[in-house]
């Protein structure tokens, strides 16, 4: 059977992360047709990229995962670069006077490398062994695993899944330069594709998305006190601080906030906040099915599978309208509300809380229909296989 490699920055059961989940799903979907191997780092912590897991091959659910050690942890050096990059690169990303950036490409490489996970072993592996794979799929544009790894594989054999967000780092010109030659691309949403066209200057490729688990929960959570649900990494960068602030304002309305996932932010101790930690899928779906609304306050999302899962469980969803991808999900599905700013967020939460049963059912139904029409596993698998077959069939120019 033909071998297909999937490169992703982290791969482990303990990892919570959108693009990691995506890579694993694609690995699973492709494994019925190809001999899939996941190439990844030994890190599980996406902040430090500490070398944690054993290097080498482990089999996860029948799929081999080959991990390469990370050579260093992210440190003050990178944070210093990051602060300057935020300041200096984006405002001048398109220099007006034709002069180059003060950030030469070598320094941009340095920034990407020290962001982590830096796995020279992976680059060496790809350089020396890419011939053994019929195609190599790279997941997430941002990390060195993709940025340096993809340079070691002939462009006609690569399939890039950028999971691009409109974030400052995306404006580093080296990303656009490096990925320009790698034309086989999979975008999760049309909004992501447009973002790429805007920031990188090209957006060709297929909009494919991700399969969403849609089996309905048999036992929706039932509580006396209505609750808002958030699932995922709990951190300010995901907008969770804003969510807590919004809920604080309406703490007297009898609504509680239930959060699952990893708390990297330090949630305040409030009677109306309930942090459940990591819960399994079944429990997550029960919570979704019983929630007054599912909230996703993050401004930087390239797909948000968890929101689509909530839609599949018929939960009305409330998303940050400043995130184009999420706004598009809402506008196309009619499955809830998007807001602009914290005042509007409070308003939309109260609006969702005031829905009567019939209206809630209508909105929930719209969300479920949207997920079934676009993100059913069979549909995504067929289209993904088609893309990989196309890459395999292509020849070097």
């Amino acid at each position: 059977m033909r071998r297909v490699a999937i490169v992703v920055q982290r791969c482990d059961e303990s990892v919570v992360g959108g693009s990691e989940a995506l890579a694993w799903q694609y690995a699973r979907l492709l494994s019925t047709r190809f001999d899939v191997e996941v190439l990844s780092s030994t890190a599980t912590d996406y902040v430090s990229w500490r070398d944690e897991l054993p290097a080498g091959v482990r089999v996860r659910d029948g799929i081999p995962v080959r991990r390469f050690p990370t050579t260093f942890e992210r440190g003050p050096y990178w944070y210093g670069l990051h602060q300057r990059m935020m300041l200096e690169v984006q405002p001048f990303a398109a220099p007006r006077d034709g002069r180059p950036l003060a950030w030469r490409e070598s320094l941009q490489d340095e920034y990407v490398r020290f962001q982590g996970p830096c796995c020279p072993g992976l680059d060496d592996w790809l350089r020396e062994r890419h011939g053994e794979y019929a195609a190599v799929l790279f997941c997430t544009y941002l990390y060195p695993t993709t940025y340096f790894g993809i340079a070691e594989v002939p462009p006609h054999k690569t399939l890039l899944v950028p999971t691009l967000h409109d974030e400052p780092t995306a404006y580093l010109p080296v990303f656009a330069q490096r990925y320009a030659a790698h034309r086989n691309r999979i975008w999760l949403t049309a909004a992501e594709q447009r973002t790429a066209a805007r920031i990188w200057g090209y957006g060709d490729g297929e909009v494919l998305g991700m399969a969403v688990e849609h089996s309905e929960s048999a036992t929706p959570e039932s509580r006396a006190r209505p609750y808002l649900l958030y699932c995922g990494r709990i951190e300010a960068g995901k907008g969770c601080d804003e969510l807590v602030r919004a809920m604080e304002r309406i703490a007297d309305r009898g609504l509680s906030l239930v959060l699952t996932g990893v708390d990297n932010m330090g949630l305040p101790r409030e009677p109306w906040i309930e942090f459940l930690g990591f819960v399994d899928e079944r429990r997550k779906f029960e919570l979704m099915a019983g929630a007054t609304a599912f909230v996703l306050p993050s401004q930087y999302e390239s797909f948000s599978i968890v929101t689509l899962e909530a839609m599949a469980q018929r939960a009305p969803v409330i998303v940050n309208g400043r995130c184009e991808v999420m706004r598009e999900h809402i506008e196309r599905s009619g499955a809830g509300f998007h807001y602009d700013g914290i005042d509007d967020m409070v308003g939309k939460i109260l609006l969702a809380a005031s829905l009567d049963a019939r209206e809630r059912a209508r909105i929930g139904g719209a969300g479920r229909d949207y997920v079934l029409a676009n993100y059913r596993e069979e549909r995504v698998r067929a289209r993904l296989v088609e893309q990989v077959e196309r890459v395999i069939g292509a020849r070097a120019e």
């Binding site: 200096e88 984006q90 405002p91 120019e397």
Partner: protein
């Protein structure tokens, strides 16, 4: 294959570089300069005076603040300044507002960096944050001018952006003035907000003091409540007692009144009975009434009206049989003054052909002569007659019933009538009972 193409590309580049190098020495010699400082890396472009607003607002959060300081103030922010601005953003301020605050700060005005399109956004942002209605009302007039200013400035900014240097030069002083004005208004507004805040503080202090006083009062009220209840009970009992006393008094008075009424009714009855008895015994009465009715005949034709004060049923029947509308009014006792006045007042002006009083002295118990004469003058027609008899029986009956009837001489009454414009003549009855017939018409 790829490598070959790259080699070709590289060969072409080499050719182009050779061509450039061949003419390098022909290029003008650059004026010498110090080596570039790390200003580019720090994002400061000291010479740059104009920015597009999007350049400044595009960077996210932290980078936005850092860049804004470098662009508008030509320096990096201190940690405290950066965190203050981030805090402002965190509290919902727009980027335009942060930029405006920097641009129109004292330092920003010194730097005088132009940002096309910032001012209107800044004004809108500032207006959006006006916190107090009171302030709005007070400053409504000043602020009403702002949209106009904004329009002018937008227009000016647009013109300048379009690169019309001459126009820009002409407009610039005006724009600066307007900006100063807007800034001044902003400062005034800030000052006002501060004053309002102070006032608010004071009001809060007053409210707190008042609350304390009220609390004290409440405590005292609580302390006094028991005593006060006793007092109230005492007063309530007193009121009940007084109430009962008043009721008793009312009862007594009613009793007195009804006794008086009974006595009055008795007196009236006695008077009427006595009068009727005397009259029936009076043989000359018919001749007397005849005489007096004859005297009135010229005026009292059929359809005319006559009012008689006196209790003489036969007198009235006499007139009715002649087709005259005759109205009797009972001989009034002293207590009937009001009723008599009321009865006379109900007669229209100039309605009567004749007004007759058969026992004038008895009338005087209820009404003095001048009042009666004045009333008569009003109700009598111009050719009407006033008949005033001095019949003895009612007077006698009244006297017998205990009522004092004043004595009055016809001559004295004639004087009063003359003074009122009447001419009078005696129409005494055959039995000698005097009577006066008075009229105003000259005959």
């Amino acid at each position: 294959m790829n490598s070959d193409r790259n080699d070709e590309q590289l060969e072409q580049v080499r050719g182009e570089i050779r061509a450039a190098a061949a003419t390098l020495r022909d290029r003008p010699r650059l004026p010498s300069s110090a080596p570039a400082q790390a200003s580019g890396a720090d994002g400061i472009e000291p010479a740059r005076r104009r920015y597009r607003i999007a350049e400044l607002t595009d960077p996210p959060y932290h980078a936005f603040v850092e860049h804004a300081f470098r662009a508008l103030l030509k320096r990096a922010p201190t940690a405290a300044e950066a965190s203050a601005q981030l805090d402002l953003l965190g509290r919902g301020a727009s980027k335009a507002e942060v930029l405006g605050n920097l641009r129109w700060s004292a330092e920003g005005r010194r730097q005088h960096v132009g940002v096309a399109g910032l001012l209107p956004r800044y004004i809108v942002a500032k207006l959006g944050r006006v916190p107090l209605l009171g302030y709005l009302v007070e400053w409504g007039t000043s602020l009403a001018a702002l949209p106009m200013l904004a329009r002018q400035l937008r227009a000016a900014d647009a013109a300048i952006s379009a690169g019309d240097a001459a126009l820009a030069a002409r407009l610039q002083p005006r724009i600066d003035e307007l900006r100063e004005l807007v800034h001044g208004l902003g400062l005034a507004r800030d000052e006002l907000i501060r004053s309002v805040d102070t006032l608010d503080e004071r009001l809060r202090a007053h409210a707190a003091a008042a609350e304390a006083v009220l609390g004290d009062l409440a405590r005292r009220q609580h302390d006094l409540e028991g005593a006060r209840k006793d007092e109230l009970e005492f007063v309530r009992r007193r009121v009940y007692v007084m109430n009962r006393w008043f009721e008793a008094l009312q009862g007594a008075l009613a009793e007195v009144e009804s006794a008086a009424d009974r006595r009055d009714a008795g007196a009236r009855e006695f008077e009427a009975r006595t009068r009727d008895a005397i009259a029936s015994a009076d043989a000359s009465r018919v001749a007397r009434l005849e005489r007096w009715s004859d005297a009135l005949d010229p005026a009292c034709v059929a359809g005319a009206r006559i009012v008689t004060i006196g209790d003489d049923a036969d007198w009235n029947e006499r007139w009715v049989s002649k087709g005259v509308a005759a109205t009797p009014l009972a001989t009034p006792r002293a207590a009937d003054a009001a009723a008599l006045r009321d009865a006379l007042a109900r007669i229209e002006d100039g309605a009567l052909a004749a007004l007759a009083v058969l026992a004038f002295p008895a009338l005087l118990r209820a009404m003095p002569a001048d009042e009666f004469v004045a009333a008569a003058s009003r109700v009598l027609r111009a050719d009407g007659f006033l008949l005033i008899g001095f019949a003895a029986e009612p007077v006698l009956a009244a006297t017998l019933a205990g009522d004092a009837v004043p004595a009055v001489q016809p001559a004295a009454l004639a004087t009063v009538l003359a003074a009122a414009g009447y001419s009078t003549r005696r129409v005494d009855a055959a039995d000698g009972t005097p009577a006066l017939l008075a009229s105003k018409a000259a005959r």
